[in-house]
Symmetry: C2
Subunit: 678 residues, 2 copies
């Protein structure tokens, strides 16, 4: 008797013998090969397409020809005629294995695809969405076996797709009979089954086949801005992104002022809840329209945010978050319906996963950063800082992960800076000061030229130079320190002491003119002594938080620093080190993770395993409370100097020379005044 | 070494030795004795009160004195001083067992109490509510262990009460921190954990102790009337009942006309859904007000209804129920939130259990009757008929249970009867016709006297005699048959043929005057030939349904008949047999079960075990479809005669003589006309 055919699947390499006549899809399932299907093997969804290979495969010990698979049967021929199969492609559910075969499963036929491209820094994540489309054929109603339509549907899903207990809200139950009627018993269901292993939920039902196009939203709800990334749940790819200002800004710029508003104003918290939900609803409608996606196809969302936003979004009282012990109403992850949050644009049945909070000050956004960065999988010690109005700081490695938050204030976002503005076209984002001439050249958002490049004036004519954004002010202050315009204490020197006519009087202190604007008819853009003080406060808070975690970890240095957040993506590592925002480390060990919180939201959106992981990670993170640590204040004061009053910075000094100037006694206007008084 | 004390609990008889110093509550838990507690042993709820017994108990081999238990400790003394303990009572959580003891657990200290009094016919049911009150002490917020308030509450419930995974809707989550704050960490939770064993749900939280008074509603949603029984969930006792007309009557008197309305009128189903939900909301508010119970204390409800009402209540399309194959949208039981049904008066978090439907024609009301009657636990063969606009019919025993429904129409409810009316004061509910004089005496609702008793006229002066209700018309027709005023074919004889001046011409037919009204100044109350025809149609449908089930079961007789439904409670067994509504059986084998559907709703409300039971019973019931059974029509026609055209009725004839009259050829006006024409 001849042996059963041997089949090898690539790229997985899984192999085995299957009875002759077995379909490729059945063989894949028998051998545990990841091969997609929505229609359940009916030859209509084409999700199970494979590419049989011909030739001699010495590695596999197989010689395969075109006869390894059966010829197109009627079902496959009908699909090919109607929709067209690409050359070399076969429908896995129809093609039968007749003799030894090597079969390639192309990426688009795999259920589990990579969500985030693997690079040096990033842990790869495969799609494993909680919501999947499943087509079934449901038995017709039978008077002698009077199960309801929903029970017959559940039985079909159990039988064809091994779905366990199925639940549905009433409106979804109500939709079942009409869909069965319209589809002649054949319907496609969106079935949500999450990492917790409870009952599955029916979240959408359509007559006939719906093979493509269900979406999810990864939402990063910040104090200042809201970002939403519309993502194809099957592929994990982002199809559109949109942002909006958080309308709660009108109740308070920073979180604590919103908490105060909730505390002082009856109904204030509810007012803010309504505002943010309405804004989210609008944003959802907008991003769906941008992508040309019907909102009813958006069946999931994940939300990351800080604890105050978390409570305001969910309708929980934020007031306890404003004072010790900073008690959260709920800390674990939540899985809700869109209906629970009144997110108008989403279908009521859409499932919303809210990532867990780490503590009263360290939210789901920090959890998302931990998920995106997975410092807990690395041997080296990583410091991850997500810079915003609050900085979320994580420190750790395989053994232990610590977290804290630190109130940096809005200076890093360009707020409370004399010429500060949000990152937008026209804002200075990069600064270089010539150490000889002490003259600055700048680059503005929206234009790749430096201000001393030919054609700069013409290139920026549309926007002008309107102010300095967060990364611009960091670079400006760092460059002022490097150029000797400002000393280690943060004091700007007089024109005489610095030898620069770019320094001008500003009341009782000095200010430095980054860009005088006269050539382009604009107002001068300058950095005042107060601006430097604001940046010093912000960077000291950030540094002190990081140092506190290092104390707790018992280390004096870290192996690498990751700057996360939209702002982090634009800070130059060298300037961050010169400013002393972060502990001393080799500049090439500082990397940017971009919007890591948003990435974490996207990973959790596309992967059930990632939801389980983030919950496990959060459970293992040790929270360090900055507000009550006596050493925080100590670190904060010592970190006021630029880069630092007492800590050496050997790594930085390997690549940069910092001039040894001091304007406090002689050269500074403040110092000068003091001297005159004495 | 002395032996550990021996303790015997009564009435359970459970016994065992426990270490000296064990509290009575701990001993009860160790020995599996049912002893209640809400405060978790803190000596404040007094739910664990016990009565220690003194004396020599030969049966138990124990001699116990007052020293068997420890003296009142400070906690118990404080409770006694503040609230007062009845003589002989002790707090089980404080009193310690020091030597051999016999301890009685009074009924009010047992969690599991009997819901429905056991009598000859009824299966006993013990309370085992899905919602229980649990007091806990929750750890304060701790900055160094930053679990949320909800997580700390969950941990306390797990620790003190062995509650598993706890879930809550957002508004309930939001209520947790404030309750903890107000109660100083001590709160009482209502926790719902049902028979399905999924996660528990928090449905109420109060600061401090709430030992008493959570309620449930057993709702019997009929086509014509809605009844709600407000029930103490702990004791199972009904504290108030209220009824209302089903407002859907304005869309159609019977179910099929409502289905037609839904089919013909766009938005018609939604309109009916809104109407019934609004009416339920009003009824809930009313019954709560009647009982002086705050609606927010009503944390559960169960609903029984027929399939059309079921779909209309739930917002499911009823149209498929109007034609074969009578497909239900959902047949299994459902557990919903009050929010899902917009039942205004109930708290959103209240849990609603909707009993399962048996089939497209046999609803959750029939399932509730099966639960209340448990014919599946009996050796003898029971026929249970729930008489209403539709009759639900169950036939079965330990081996097999069959069910069908039969469209009896509204005649049994007094509708479509010339002088018919709903059962209300002034309606004739009982009739006796003297076989000699052919004169009727009647009794009306609201007055215990018969119309020939002295003082009758005065007694009914307030209401008058306004019409005939359902049980009245059944008795009237049966009595007319027994008195020979009407023959077996249902024809009323002429005055000459019957020898009665109570028979009068009514157009081309004869009518019988039950009550001439002249003495009381009212209109005569009479039974017309058409009324008899309407009753014949109704009783034939009921009988034919029962016979069809008997055919399916392969039997010619049943052992007992149970008449259920409000109407069933008022029918006299003998008259039902004379009329031939039910198969021949000894009159004393016919009993009334009262509102068995409502009883079933009440049982399911108070017992998780009963919910599992009703689901199991429904799964085992064989549904018989009357609409498609050829023999139904045959049985229907044969059952038109009174009592029956062909079936002998030996049991009936043992106690009653039926005159052998026939008016068709000679005595009847119809017959007479025909004769004249010939």
């Amino acid at each position: 008797m001849a042996q059963d055919p041997l089949v090898v699947f690539t790229p997985s390499g899984r192999r085995g013998r299957v009875p002759s006549g077995t379909t490729v899809l059945s063989a894949a399932r028998m051998l545990g090969v990841d091969l997609d299907s929505v229609c359940g093997g009916r030859g209509i969804c084409s999700k199970c397409q494979v590419a049989p290979m011909s030739g001699t495969f010495a590695k596999h010990g197989i010689t395969a020809g075109p006869e390894a698979l059966s010829e197109q049967n009627a079902v496959e021929a009908r699909y090919d005629a109607k929709r067209g199969l690409a050359a070399g492609r076969r429908l896995g559910c129809q093609a039968q294995i007749l003799s030894d075969a090597v079969i390639d499963v192309p990426p688009e036929s795999q259920v589990h695809r990579q969500v985030v491209r693997k690079d040096a820094d990033t842990h790869p994540v495969e799609t494993d969405p909680a919501t999947r489309l499943m087509m079934v054929e449901v038995a017709p109603a039978d008077m002698h076996a009077p199960e309801g339509a929903f029970e017959r549907l559940s039985a079909a899903l159990a039988n064809e797709w091994a779905v366990g207990t199925l639940e549905a809200d009433l409106p979804m139950l109500a939709a079942v009979p009409a869909a069965l009627e319209a589809g002649g018993g054949r319907v496609t269901c969106a079935v949500f089954a999450d990492h917790r292993g409870g009952p599955a939920r029916l979240t959408e039902i359509r007559p006939g086949l719906l093979a493509d196009g269900i979406f999810g939203l990864a939402i990063d709800l910040g104090s200042t801005t809201i970002a939403a990334h519309l993502t194809d749940l099957a592929s994990g790819s982002v199809v559109a992104s949109a942002g909006a200002m958080n309308p709660q800004i009108r109740f308070g710029e920073d979180l604590m002022s919103r908490v105060s508003y909730a505390m002082m104003t009856p109904g204030g918290a509810a007012e803010m809840t309504l505002a943010v939900r309405t804004a989210l609803g609008t944003l959802v409608a907008e991003v769906a329209a941008d992508a040309g996606v019907a909102p009813e196809r958006i069946l999931e969302a994940t939300i990351v945010c800080n604890p105050v936003m978390h409570h305001l979004l969910l309708g929980l009282d934020p007031v306890p978050l404003g004072q010790a012990p900073f008690a959260l109403a709920v800390s674990d992850s939540l899985t809700l319906s869109a209906r629970d949050l009144d997110l108008g644009a989403l279908p009521d049945a859409a499932r919303i996963y809210v990532l867990p909070c780490i503590a009263g000050h360290v939210g789901a956004d920090a959890a998302a950063v931990a998920l995106a960065q997975r410092l807990d999988l690395r041997d080296d010690l990583s410091l991850v800082v997500d810079v915003g109005t609050n900085a979320e700081i994580l420190l750790g490695n395989r053994d232990r992960v610590l977290a804290c938050s630190s109130p940096t204030g809005p200076a890093f976002e360009g707020a409370q800076i004399t010429c500060g503005q949000r990152a937008a076209p026209g804002a200075i984002e990069a600064v270089r000061i010539d150490t000889e001439t002490k003259i600055a050249r700048v680059r503005v958002i929206g234009c790749p030229l430096w201000s001393d490049d030919p054609g700069f004036a013409a290139a920026i004519a549309g926007t002008g130079i309107t102010g300095i954004c967060g990364s611009g002010i960091v670079e400006a202050v760092a460059e002022m320190r490097q150029a000797g315009v400002m000393d280690a204490s943060g004091l700007i020197g007089s024109p005489e002491a610095t030898g620069s006519d770019r320094v001008r009087a500003d009341g009782r202190t000095w200010e430095y003119v980054l860009h005088d604007g006269s050539a382009t008819g604009g107002a001068p853009i300058r950095v005042t002594q107060n601006d430097v003080r604001a940046i010093q406060l912000a960077k000291s808070a950030l540094y002190a938080g990081a140092r506190l975690l290092m104390d707790e970890m018992g280390v004096d240095r870290v192996d690498r620093v990751v700057l996360a957040g939209a702002f982090g993506a634009h800070i130059s590592p060298l300037h961050a080190l010169v400013l002393g925002m972060i502990p001393d480390v080799a500049p090439d060990a500082v990397t940017s993770a971009g919007n890591a919180a948003g990435t974490g939201a996207r990973i959790a959106l596309c992967s059930r395993a990632a939801r389980a992981e983030v919950e496990a990670i959060v459970g293992r993170i040790t929270k360090v409370e900055t507000a009550l640590a006596p050493r925080f204040q100590e670190h904060f004061v010592a970190a006021n100097a630029i880069p630092h009053a007492s800590e050496p910075c050997p790594e930085l000094l390997r690549v940069v020379t910092l001039p040894d100037v001091a304007f406090g006694a002689a050269g500074g206007r403040e110092g000068g005044r003091r001297r005159r008084r004495a």
